[in-house]
């Protein structure tokens, strides 16, 4: 990083979202427009000052950047978009940081939107599994010929592998959705706020065994957006900057399977004892695990939280089952996770609502779910990418 060190050089200047809901019956472009407008307003920026945009996901379920821009009367100098996966949140923010540092844009809206109101059940997998029909198969292990379909089935495959290798079980896994639901109960924007217990989890129906309904995230409508600009510009705007201190990009290759860390032995991964070591994101930000006041992660399925904890070295392989017990990942615990309620309870906004929550936590705007004295918050995912933010 010597020649292009981005530590604390860029910041999130604004964050905003649309309402989240199961049946909003609003179009993705409409939801995206609301999130962008709210994020710009939060930053104190006018739409004429927005000159860059990076969208994750996009059509057919979400809005694409090349339709958002003209319909909102924007004039963008630079834009980009990922394909329709939830794994690109950090990537978008990282690219936006590089863009503003390189002078390719001054302020970049990073966002995702989608609307599933009009899709009949099941919404993922089955006859509409375009990904499973892809050459060489789906990115979550989809192989429809054998009935293997949907992202959740790939997570179930990882969960079974994990359970068998480390002797963990579904009852222990319940600690993740139970914790996040407690957080959602404190979040007026969350879709699912009624408390759940471990027994509720165990009584919920099996979807793809060993995963149950309460191991699965919500399927909903919504959009969320953050505005990335240089730290220097951000300091002159409406709200205190949330600095981007550390970045770790998304790794790829034969040793990677989206929901697993290297060595677990899913898909074509080798089998070995994974050692997180010191992940690059901590070196870049100049912090250690002890400095992390909260951890946010892509929790499309409960098992992903365990994988992320081990992948980033919060605990050793096989230890997350014990680590997540006894309130450790709840507000007031040693490492609060997903204080918004996550994809499991707040709503699935493709990882973008997590970024909005991180910004609000670091500004002290979270009311009853505020982490006291939060200074450093990490976004770190089972698939290996990460951001470290500070105030």
């Amino acid at each position: 990083m010597a020649s292009f060190d981005l530590k604390d050089k860029t910041a999130i200047a604004g964050a905003g979202s649309s309402p989240f809901g199961r049946k909003l019956h609003r179009s993705p472009i409409d939801l995206a427009a609301e999130a962008i407008a709210n994020a710009l307003d939060d930053a104190g920026l006018g739409r004429d000052q927005l000159d860059g945009m990076i969208v994750s996901f996009g059509s057919p379920l979400g809005a694409d950047v090349d339709t958002i821009a003209p319909l909102l009367g924007l004039k963008l100098r630079a834009y980009s978009q990922t394909w329709a996966h939830g794994r690109f949140t950090a990537s978008c923010i990282q690219w936006a940081s590089m863009m503003v540092c390189a002078g390719l844009a001054n302020a970049v809206a990073c966002l995702g939107s989608w609307s599933l109101s009009h899709i009949r059940r099941p919404k993922f997998g089955g006859a509409g599994d375009r990904e499973g029909a892809r050459e060489a198969g789906g990115g979550h292990g989809e192989d429809p010929v054998f009935g293997m379909t949907s992202p959740g089935a790939g997570a179930a495959l990882v969960a079974r592998r994990y359970f068998e290798r480390y002797g963990a079980n579904s009852r222990q896994l319940a600690s993740v959705p139970v914790a996040f639901r407690k957080h959602a109960a404190l979040n007026p924007n969350a879709i699912m706020r009624a408390p759940i217990t471990v027994d509720d989890h165990q009584a919920s129906r099996l979807v793809c065994e060993p995963l149950r309904l309460l191991d699965y995230c919500l399927v909903n409508d919504g959009a969320a957006c953050v505005i990335v600009t240089t730290a220097e510009r951000a300091r002159d705007l409406r709200k205190p900057p949330v600095y981007i201190s550390g970045m770790q990009p998304l790794p790829g290759g034969a040793e990677e399977f989206i929901w697993s860390y290297p060595g677990l032995g899913v898909a074509q991964q080798s089998v070995f004892d994974y050692d997180a070591g010191v992940q690059p994101v901590y070196r870049m930000a100049g912090v250690t695990h002890k400095d992390i006041d909260a951890l946010f992660t892509y929790d499309a399925f409960s098992i992903l939280a365990w994988i992320a904890l081990e992948r980033f070295g919060f605990c050793k392989p096989g230890e997350a089952a014990a680590f997540t017990q006894d309130g450790r990942i709840e507000l007031g615990g040693e490492l609060p996770m997903n204080t918004n309620g996550g994809l499991l309870s707040e709503g699935h906004i493709l990882g973008w609502a997590h970024q909005v929550e991180i910004v609000r936590q670091l500004r002290g705007e979270c009311g009853p779910r505020q982490i006291r004295g939060a200074e450093v918050i990490q976004w770190a995912n089972c698939y290996g990418d990460s951001m470290i933010y500070r105030n």
Binding site: A133, C208, Q268
Partner: protein, 137 residues
């Protein structure tokens, strides 16, 4: 033969030899002529040494269950009557893992590491699938 309602594979020039071999009741995968690596899914070159010199080599058809799931929610019409059905990841003795269904065993008897062997399932006149059954060797 009754109409086949389950999803069909996406056959491309790259994986055609795999599906052709199954129709002959052989399990063949690409084996690198240079470094002897066997890999799956089919790739245009050896993922280890990048040699394009490879042979579609017959495999033992034996391996172990590395992980598995059981579908309780219907997704595909063609699989609805089989719910709850299993999907397993089998690690072949030659190295690659593939997705499959285990036959000849109840879902609750499936165990990680159990030995399995290939069963050639002629599901249509043109399509044979590699399913696996418990094996004693």
């Amino acid at each position: 033969m009754a109409q086949y309602l389950k999803p069909l594979p996406t056959i491309t020039p790259l994986n055609q030899p795999y599906w052709d071999s199954l129709r002959r009741h052989e399990l063949r995968m690409q084996r690198c002529d240079k470094c002897a690596r066997v890999w799956y899914p089919p790739s245009p070159l050896c993922p280890r040494c990048w040699s394009r010199q490879f042979s579609w080599t017959p495999l033992s058809g034996r391996g172990r269950v590395s992980s598995w799931v059981v579908f309780h929610q219907p997704y595909f019409k063609g699989f609805e009557s089989e719910i709850p059905y299993n999907v397993a990841e089998v690690e072949l003795d030659e190295g690659p893992r593939l997705m499959t269904n285990l036959v000849g065993i109840a879902n609750h008897d499936i165990r990680a590491g159990m030995r399995v062997e290939v069963v050639y399932d002629d599901v249509t006149a043109d399509l044979t699938l590699a399913r696996f059954k418990p094996s004693t060797s």
